[in-house]
Symmetry: C2
């Protein structure tokens, strides 16, 4: 029954130091067939061997700013003088084709995704305890006060938005956490709210069958 489902757009966010980058990498390596990688658009120049539409959609600054203006990006940011963003059309096409898409975005971006894709699944990755988070934020005692305070301020800001997320994923043992994320996305396909079409169809078929019995 779930074969006719649309893909699920999953956004992975989390405290810095929670290991979300590693989780994403492991998940995509282990379940390559299951997920479509979102391909970002960028104004950065292609490096040798990089192909347009494979690693990135390469855009001029003018093209990128047109995409922003036209609302063609789910979210975007600047990094070292270049734009990076998530093209809405590409993600939408993957979802329509029934493929699950995963994005790793920080909390502000995640909320923008939900505005545009209300069915998006929002996962928040956290270390196993507040103590552990503290330890990771302080680092090895070699960080400047400024760095620590920045991290703390950011963690607090991120924690404020936690209620907007659907699941809290605890990253204790990496392998287990990767499985956890995979399972959550897989099970989400069985949500009644994501099967409205299938349910309607089954009901209609049942009704048709009763009429034939009259």
């Amino acid at each position: 029954m779930t074969r006719k489902n649309k893909g699920i757009l999953t956004v992975v966010s989390g405290f810095s130091g929670a290991g979300k980058g590693t989780i994403m990498k492991e998940l995509l390596a282990k379940y390559e067939q299951n997920y479509a990688l979102s391909i970002s658009a960028t104004t950065r120049a292609p490096r040798p061997g990089e192909k347009d539409g494979v690693e990135y959609f390469f855009k001029s600054r003018e093209e990128f700013e047109k995409m922003i203006a036209a609302g063609e990006l789910i979210e975007y940011a600047q990094y070292v003088g270049n734009y990076y963003g998530t093209p809405k059309a590409y993600v939408g096409k993957q979802l329509e084709a029934g493929r699950d898409v995963i994005l790793e975005i920080e909390i502000q971006g995640a909320l923008k995704v939900r505005e545009q894709f209300p069915d998006a699944l929002l996962l928040f990755v956290t270390p196993p305890s507040a103590d552990e988070l503290k330890r990771r934020l302080i680092g090895r005692g070699t960080e400047s006060m400024e760095v620590i305070e920045n991290r703390l301020a950011r963690a607090l800001e991120e924690a404020e938005g936690l209620e907007e997320y659907d699941y809290l994923v605890v990253n204790d043992v990496l392998e287990e956490c990767v499985e956890e994320v995979h399972e959550i996305i897989r099970n989400e396909h069985y949500r009644v709210s994501r099967n409205a079409g299938n349910i309607r169809e089954m009901r209609e078929e049942l009704k048709g069958f009763t009429r034939r019995q009259d």
Copy 2:
């Protein structure tokens, strides 16, 4: 973080012929440690070897009717002249102790459970397709028209309430379906909405930590 969670009350319903009884049996056999069986109250006489509070809570008709009147049963029904019901206090105690409880109840009962336990997780088990459901409802062609019509009417009635459920679980391969149900319940513990206390605590700890830095 999820260690401080309350248990989850899961209600399993489904079309007749969907195999929910078998799923429950397999699930409880395989994951005995994970789930608390709800012990029913009944007015039926104990059979040799049956102990009060183990197989059933044995009650007189008068006691049972007092429980009904006092709202002490989540749901109840009569079967072959005896009452059977689910005591609310027992279920509540298990949940408070952090144990997951599973009940197999038909749709009307499931909705009553949700009224009293708004956090209950409602699973609906269905055969893999409407065609397969049809086949199971018709049976082997030896059933009377009345039996078939009763089954159809009931399936249609059950299908009407489907949107009230959280998950649609497809029972194609039994072993996979049992795993599916187990995973859904397990993952549900990671829902942000079920971790309000843990989130609040983590936030407070983070805030406390910032103050110490001032």
